[in-house]
């Protein structure tokens, strides 16, 4: 690790802590440091500020870190796997898969499927199935933009199925699903956090074992095999890890666009390396910081304008992607 990388890591750690703390104090209700202390260690259930801390502030900040980091890391894996700077869980339709399956489970009226575990399982299954669909199509095209178009078409196709589902569902189910699709970091409750953290930890541990194959995969699939790695299992394992991150984030926050596409590109430009152990840490930090800051801005603007997180990330992310397209794929 050279000096430049070490300096970046130090800066990112400081920024992450600062933006996490900033996020905790960014909401409209004024909450003091002692409220935080007491809410965590001397909870008074009749105190509104304590409840805001436990039920809103802390889960929202933690989920911002997890969603930002998870989507960015998933995006990095997809970009290396498909050798495509434009790949990401959102554009390639992995989120879409989750959305479709979550729509099914929310609108079937079966209470089992509407529980936390039901929704997470649906989101994971949807992400996994759509991940393998994209992997299948990737065998037919080496062209960057073609795969993207396939992802977009998958999006339109599932969008249509979801519309049909919506016409058949009850008003209450429809409302729950519509709110979910807008994407938000505030739906997660304190007691759901362990489950989210568990899945995120599983994904992170799995990611460590993808560092080596990703570093080699940069040389192309032929070289990967000649260096002794089984390319089929690398592909399958990458899709599983990507689906795990995307599925769990999508289940709790709804679809969040562009983070998984923009952050890995930004990270690679900053660190100027193909070493995925450095890129993994970089994406983790930059993704988390990006979503913490985005969500802080959303909270600060809340009094004047209600922005869903998905709208905000698209506003920032889409121009950045156009820049990448023009620069890298002239």
């Amino acid at each position: 690790m050279n000096k430049r990388t070490q300096l970046f890591f130090l800066l990112l750690i400081v920024t992450l802590i600062a933006s996490f703390v900033g996020h905790l104090f960014a909401g409209q209700v004024k909450i003091t440091l002692s409220d935080y202390w007491n809410a965590l260690f001397h909870l008074d259930e009749s105190n509104t500020n304590h409840l805001i801390v436990r039920e809103f502030r802390i889960p929202r900040a933690v989920i911002a870190v997890i969603a930002g980091a998870g989507l960015s890391v998933a995006g990095m894996f997809m970009q290396t796997l498909f050798n495509n700077p434009l790949a990401g869980p959102y554009v390639l339709g992995i989120n879409t898969g989750s959305s479709l399956f979550v729509a099914f489970s929310m609108m079937t009226g079966l209470s089992f499927l509407q529980s936390d575990v039901g929704i997470i399982s649906s989101a994971l299954l949807g992400a996994l199935i759509f991940g393998f669909i994209i992997l299948f199509f990737s065998f037919f095209t080496r062209h960057h933009v073609t795969l993207l178009l396939v992802g977009l078409m998958l999006g339109s196709f599932t969008g249509a199925i979801i519309s049909v589902l919506q016409t058949m569902s009850s008003a209450q189910e429809l409302k729950a699903f519509t709110i979910w699709t807008m994407g938000s970091l505030q739906h997660v409750q304190f007691d759901q956090l362990p489950l989210v953290i568990l899945f995120f930890a599983l994904g992170t541990i799995g990611s460590l074992f993808l560092i080596k194959p990703m570093n080699v995969l940069v040389l192309g699939e032929k070289s990967t095999e000649l260096l002794g790695l089984n390319i089929q299992s690398v592909r399958v394992f990458t899709i599983i890890i990507t689906a795990l991150f995307t599925g769990v984030v999508t289940a709790f926050c709804g679809p969040i666009a562009f983070v998984g596409l923009a952050v890995p590109n930004l990270t690679k430009t900053l660190f100027r390396t193909q070493n995925h152990s450095i890129l993994l840490i970089g994406n983790f930090f930059i993704g988390a910081i990006f979503l913490l800051i985005s969500d802080s801005i959303i909270q600060l603007l809340e009094a004047t304008i209600q922005l869903p997180i998905n709208a905000f990330t698209s506003l920032v992310g889409a121009p950045f992607i156009i820049y990448i397209v023009l620069k890298r794929l002239k």
Binding site: L208, F209, I211, K212, N215, V216, V218, L219, E225, L226, L227, G228, L229, N230, K268, F271, R272, T273, Q274, N275, S277
Partner: protein, 240 residues
């Protein structure tokens, strides 16, 4: 090291027959033949990319077909005719990827791996661009860097598919000399396909494997053979 026993190779129909032949460690073999005569097919057969049509190719008395992907990566290192370089991938990191078959699941290089990488860099005099990006090198430099990566793979065999195809005269000569030196000093069996007949004849101790165009057979010659003989065997032209 590489043994052939009446092997027929090709895609579906036989392109080339190799009767009885053994390629040894410490020797360099230049594979010469016309376009489409089966040079790449032969290399791909040894790499287990294409199955043999008849007979068997043996590496150290074990049939190639029974090698696992990992075992093969510890036995053969392969260098393509061109490495285009990769954005943000440094020379030292690229050469280090040659250690992939030996690193643990997390892919971290141990101190002995770093020592092997450093030794290869020193051997090929690549020290000056150790930290440069592979994308910024010239074609000649990139080919040398690829050979360093192959050396780091610590395999008894190195195969190269037309490694000189995109190089200028000076770099062709230098590359073939380097291969010759590696084979002798590191006791490796080096096999490369090429069209640079003159350089292979000038350089001492290079064995020539010529694909006989009329018989469709692979024939081994020492480099006392003349250029005109090679051309008449391999390219069905009689040189006046």
């Amino acid at each position: 090291m590489i043994q052939f026993n009446t092997v027929e190779i090709g895609y579906k129909q036989a392109l080339l027959t190799i009767n009885k032949l053994e390629l040894k460690r410490g020797e360099v073999y230049a594979l010469i033949g016309s376009n489409g005569s089966g040079k790449s097919t032969l290399l791909n057969t040894i790499l287990k990319k294409i199955p043999v049509l008849a007979g068997d190719v043996y590496l150290n008395s074990t049939a190639v077909a029974s090698y696992s992907v990992t075992e093969l990566a510890k036995t053969i290192a392969f260098v393509d005719s061109k490495f285009d370089g990769i954005e943000h991938l440094s020379v030292v990191d690229y050469i280090g990827l040659g250690r992939t078959p030996y690193t643990n699941a997390l892919g971290r290089l141990r101190s002995e791996d770093h020592a092997i990488v450093d030794a290869a860099i020193e051997k090929l005099n690549l020290g000056t661009f150790r930290n440069r990006e592979t994308l910024q090198l010239s074609d000649g430099e990139r080919q040398m860097v690829s050979i360093a990566r192959a050396i780091c793979q610590s395999t008894p065999i190195i195969l190269l598919d037309e490694p000189t195809a995109f190089l200028d005269y000076g770099n062709r000569k230098k590359l073939i000399e380097t291969l010759n030196e590696i084979a002798k000093t590191e006791n490796k069996c080096v096999l490369f396909s090429t069209h640079d007949i003159e350089i292979c004849l000038e350089e001492k101790g290079i064995n020539l494997l010529v694909i006989n165009q009329s018989k469709k057979e692979l024939e081994l010659y020492s480099n006392t053979i003349s250029k005109s003989e090679i051309i008449s065997i391999g390219f069905s032209l009689v040189n006046e």
